[in-house]
């Protein structure tokens, strides 16, 4: 019995150690459709779906051994916090998740991206108003990406950069 406890403890420690040595970082988040004007004379599919985020993520293999991931058998979640509530949605990183096997060499990294309408399907999505500037100030710093497959569960540790893609904001930058 004691042997089983020791074995289980070692296995749990090994599993958490693997996760600790694989670091998932959000290298860049491009945020678009932050404030889409509503016009009586123009209809475009998707304009009422709120902000769109394209997240460029990096897996860092900080171990001395090969890291083998199985993206086609994995699950990826996008999480954030707003108004003291946690939001969680499944996202599909395409074409990353089309790969059966991904090998990352020791001390190397692998980059890919996933895009999603951040607020679509949540109670935060507005009707008759597409201005999400205030909401995003609260949401963006809390965004996390979670990668899950058998024996691996990694949550992104930090966001290195946020880029706003908005014509009106670009215009303001040029006027300065």
């Amino acid at each position: 019995m004691k042997f089983i406890y020791i074995l289980l403890s070692i296995m749990i420690l090994m599993s958490s150690n693997i996760n600790a040595q694989i670091v998932l970082t959000l290298k860049n988040i491009k945020v678009a459709k932050i404030n889409v004007p509503i016009s009586e004379n123009f209809i475009r599919e998707g304009d009422d779906e709120g902000p769109y985020v394209n997240m460029f993520f990096v897996f860092n293999n900080n171990t001395d051994s090969l890291l083998k991931l199985h993206p086609s058998n994995s699950k990826m979640n996008l999480q954030f916090r707003y108004d003291n509530k946690y939001f969680n949605q499944n996202v599909f990183a395409i074409p990353f998740m089309d790969s059966d096997t991904l090998i990352i060499m020791p001390h190397q990294q692998y980059e890919s991206f996933v895009g999603e309408s951040l607020l679509l399907g949540t109670s935060i999505l507005k009707h008759n108003n597409n201005d999400y500037r205030i909401e995003l100030i609260e949401i963006l710093p809390t965004i996390k990406l979670v990668y899950m497959e058998t024996k691996i569960n990694i949550k992104s540790s930090e966001i290195l950069n946020v880029e706003i893609i908005d014509k009106k904001i670009d215009n303001l930058k040029h006027k300065k």
Binding site: A32, K33, N41, F42, I43, R44, E45, G46, D48, Y52, N54, S72, N90, F92, A93, I94, P95, M97, D98, D100, F113, G115, E116, S117, L120, G121, I165, D166, K167
Partner: protein
């Protein structure tokens, strides 16, 4: 607004990215020593499955359709007019084709070809059954796929069209697969038909759930849907569920 790479072999679908079928061979029990997901015992060169065929489509640098090959994939390939002319076969019906090995060696994927916007739109137009004018969306529109749009000026003149997210479709590899592109247009065709039936104000006042659930049901029921990559299928279904589609329930058979 979405896409795919599996192929209909009548009995089951084939997913090119993994080189496997998406469902078990109905005769798998008979050949239990071979993976039920394999094609022609894993040796497609030696054995040919005659139950179905897919083709790669070829376009030139201007996005003009050239012809096809006999591949079992649905790739959208770009080649030079000169190379095509040097290696093509003119068929009895006047259409042109190329041997797959030659075509594959002398072409590149659409997403890597760096075509001009007009050439890229010409490629999409080859698969566009809607009769709508295509234009390229601005990069901030985010997701891959396409979007139906309509405008009404002060004189009441109405214009409609479809915006194609060229860059998004390249990054998601939708641009490289004919079935994925075709599937996008089945979605947009529903919006166009709804618009034609309801008019500008009626369509504008139609709820988002109604608009999108109708389009996604049609997209999902289309023969191209099972030929898409599983991830894009799931992305479409997720988008549908958010917008209120109701999926059919598979009721288990109960023995009497």
């Amino acid at each position: 607004m979405h896409g795919y790479d599996t192929y209909d072999y009548g009995a089951r679908g084939y997913y090119a990215a993994s080189g496997r079928f998406t469902t078990v061979d109905p005769l798998a029990e008979k050949y239990y020593s071979i993976s039920p997901y394999a094609y022609c015992a894993g040796n497609p060169v030696k054995y040919i499955d005659p139950t179905g065929m897919f083709v790669d489509d070829y376009f030139n640098e201007n996005g003009t359709y050239l012809g096809k090959d006999e591949a079992i994939t649905d790739n959208v390939k770009i080649t030079s007019q000169q190379s095509w002319d040097a290696t093509k076969t003119v068929n009895s019906d006047g259409s042109e084709s190329i041997d797959h090995a030659t075509g594959a060696a002398r072409s590149i994927d659409n997403s890597s070809a760096n075509l001009s916007t007009n050439a890229e739109l010409s490629v999409y137009n080859h698969y566009n059954p809607t009769g709508q004018t295509l234009n390229a969306t601005s990069p901030e529109s985010g997701n891959g796929g396409a979007a139906f749009w309509a405008t009404k000026d002060k004189n009441g003149v109405i214009k409609t069209g479809i915006e194609v997210n060229i860059e998004g479709n390249k990054s998601m590899k939708i641009a490289d697969h004919a079935n994925e592109i075709k599937n996008i247009f089945t979605h947009e065709d529903v919006h166009k038909n709804d618009f034609n039936q309801l008019g500008y104000d009626g369509f504008k006042n139609m709820s988002k759930d109604s608009k999108e659930s109708r389009a996604i049901q049609t997209q999902r029921d289309n023969s191209t849907f099972p030929l898409m990559s599983p991830e894009i299928q799931q992305k479409v279904i997720k988008y549908g569920l958010i917008n209120g589609i109701i999926l059919p329930i598979k009721i288990p058979e109960v023995g009497i």
